[in-house]
Amino acid sequence: MTAVGRLLRTTAFKLALGLLGVFTLAAVVALLYGVWQASRLVQGQIAEAVDTEISVLEEQFRLGGLRQLVVVVEDRSRQANSLLYLVTSPAGEPLVGNIGALPPGTIGKPGTSEVPYSRADSDIIARDDAYVRVSQLAGGFRVLVGRDLGERRRVAEVITRSVLGALALVVIVSLLGGFFVARRVLHRLDAMTATSRRIMAGDLTERLMVTGSGDEFDRLALATNAMLDRIGILMGELKEVSDNIAHDLRTPLTRLRNRAEEALRTARDEAGWRAAFEGIIEESEKITRTFEALLLIARAEAGAVRDHMASVDLRALATDVVELYEPVAEEAGFRLELNAAQDVHVHGHRELLGQALANVLDNALKHARRADEAGQVVTVLVEADESSACMTVRDRGQGIDEEDRARVLERFVRLESSRPGSGLGLSLVAAVMRLHDGTLQLMDGDPGLRVIMEIPRLKAVLPKRLHKAP
């Protein structure tokens, strides 16, 4: 495609062309209307002049008879740019006037008409018709007064010429304007396309140019750049995760292999074999769980599960999870307390929110124990205001040092590596919160730790309204 061809195909140029068409149509309609109005005005003036002249002549005839009429008409006919005059006898003979020829019968019917004519001093039929009025006088005489309609034509012509001229100018200017705008648009687009190609070719650090003018291209470029930033971050995370997966799956896989090899080497009786195999199955289960947790995090981060989100009552959810953990907590020497005054509906993913709360509770039960204290309380608090809903799990354990709090949210970070766990629990909670546009905060519980999961409630308007209804 040629450069001009591409220009002509741009949206900007097509838009200019379309607008031009609309304006041209409007101009033509306005022109026709203007011509029509102007013609009417001129026609009215002509008719008025003719009518006034007729009544003047009638008056002359009434005062001075035919003789005076003839004198007046003769006098007026001789003036430059005079009106057209004709006086005829009862037999239809022309008596006086400056008209050479008229269509036959014109003088015979009183009233107005538009007829072709020629002047008495010329044999040529005039270019324009004349507006004429015939009046019947006493004694069978008739007087005709007329006026050339050329003025009407000329006015229409002048208007048409000026409007068409202006229109031509508009067309030229619009085409040029459209052309230049399209060229500018193409220029920006070509630059963006070229950058995109380079990014596609693998250079993820490239960014689209932002001119700072704040126009629609800038907005698009900014949005695209933000998207590229996010992709860059995700790519980085992905790389980190795959490195971590490699590490965290290799380690238990190695253990798995070691156990099998050791069993091969040392197991002598059935009990030995059995113990080895049970160990192997246990290791493989650990690998599966780590793998599933990683997949779940990936899913939550990708947002693909958003389709499965619905209205979830956090109080009911917390009640379920607390009830599920209550016996375990009791065995471990904890007391679980649920503090939820009302139903709290949010737009969310029930399973993932349940898993998140379960992970946090599980952490509290595993890590919050302080050697010198027994019968500790772990509190689950569900509360909400207009804008957000909160699930808080508070323990009275030793807490987490401030500098470690951000670190524990990262994948595979375990503060107590001697304890069991994949190091993915809180990462999953954080991912679930991100999926819900919410936040996960670790705060000092003084003593202990407060884990706050906050979810915005903007989408949960309906249940709230139902709640308020009497």
Binding site: H308, D320, V328, G354, Q355, L365
Partner: protein
């Protein structure tokens, strides 16, 4: 039980066939979706075990076709896709249960047996009885040897589920899914503690225990005294 296994991985299929035969069932194997579909259409099976990703015809498509044709044979879908939402898709297509790979054979066996039992008329009974233990599903009343046992609502549902599947092993995940209606990984042995609480209520003080732990698999409620 006649069981049809539609699974493209030859090693996994051979293992399943052997293990199911050892468990006293008569399994048959199809290696792809089309073969599985025509076998399922031609013969009557007690249960189908369908892998989700199959050559020629996708596992979910096989189940959908069978259901459209009015075939109501219980289906257990096996899949490497583990997530809750994949599960939902699997059940929506007409599957009756969903199990993620890798699975424990005991889990698979327990679920197959539960599926067949579910379609048996026993599920519609209003009173479940095992030895002297009685559970009335309408009045929510539980007695053993005519002594009333007071249960929490969740304990009642736990016992109800165990008794509906009396004599069959039910696994921890089956309990979490069916009694609590959650599919997430509870991290710790939460279910075990619930079961041991229930056991304390229904078995303590009676000479014959009914609720048994099956090591490495789950739980079963049965009268093994006779």
């Amino acid at each position: 039980m006649k069981i049809l296994i539609i699974e493209d991985d030859a090693a996994a299929a051979a293992y399943l066939v052997k293990a199911l035969r050892e468990a006293g069932h008569s399994p048959q194997h199809a290696a792809d979706g089309e073969e599985g579909l025509s076998l399922a259409q031609g013969e009557s099976f007690d249960v189908l075990v369908v892998d989700r990703m199959l050559p020629k015809l996708d596992g979910l498509a096989v189940v959908e076709r069978l259901r459209r044709e009015g075939n109501r044979t219980p289906v257990l879908i096996l899949s490497a896709l583990a997530q809750v939402d994949d599960r939902v898709a699997g059940l929506r297509s007409g599957g009756d249960d969903y199990l993620t790979k890798p699975y424990a054979f005991t889990e698979l066996l327990a679920r197959i047996e539960a599926l067949v039992r579910r379609t048996a008329p026993a599920a519609a009974e209003t009173v479940y009885r095992i030895a002297g233990l009685e559970l009335d599903r309408l009045s929510h009343c539980v007695t053993r040897d005519d002594t009333e046992i007071i249960l929490q609502p969740r304990e009642f549902r736990l016992l109800e589920y165990l008794m509906r599947h009396a004599g069959q092993v039910v696994t921890r995940t089956m309990l979490l899914e069916n009694v609590w209606d959650y599919h997430f990984d509870p991290q710790t042995n939460v279910i075990d503690v619930h079961v041991s609480r229930l056991r304390a209520k229904i078995d303590k003080g009676f000479d014959r225990p009914l609720l048994h732990t099956i090591r490495g698999a789950g739980y079963v409620i049965r009268d093994s005294g006779r």
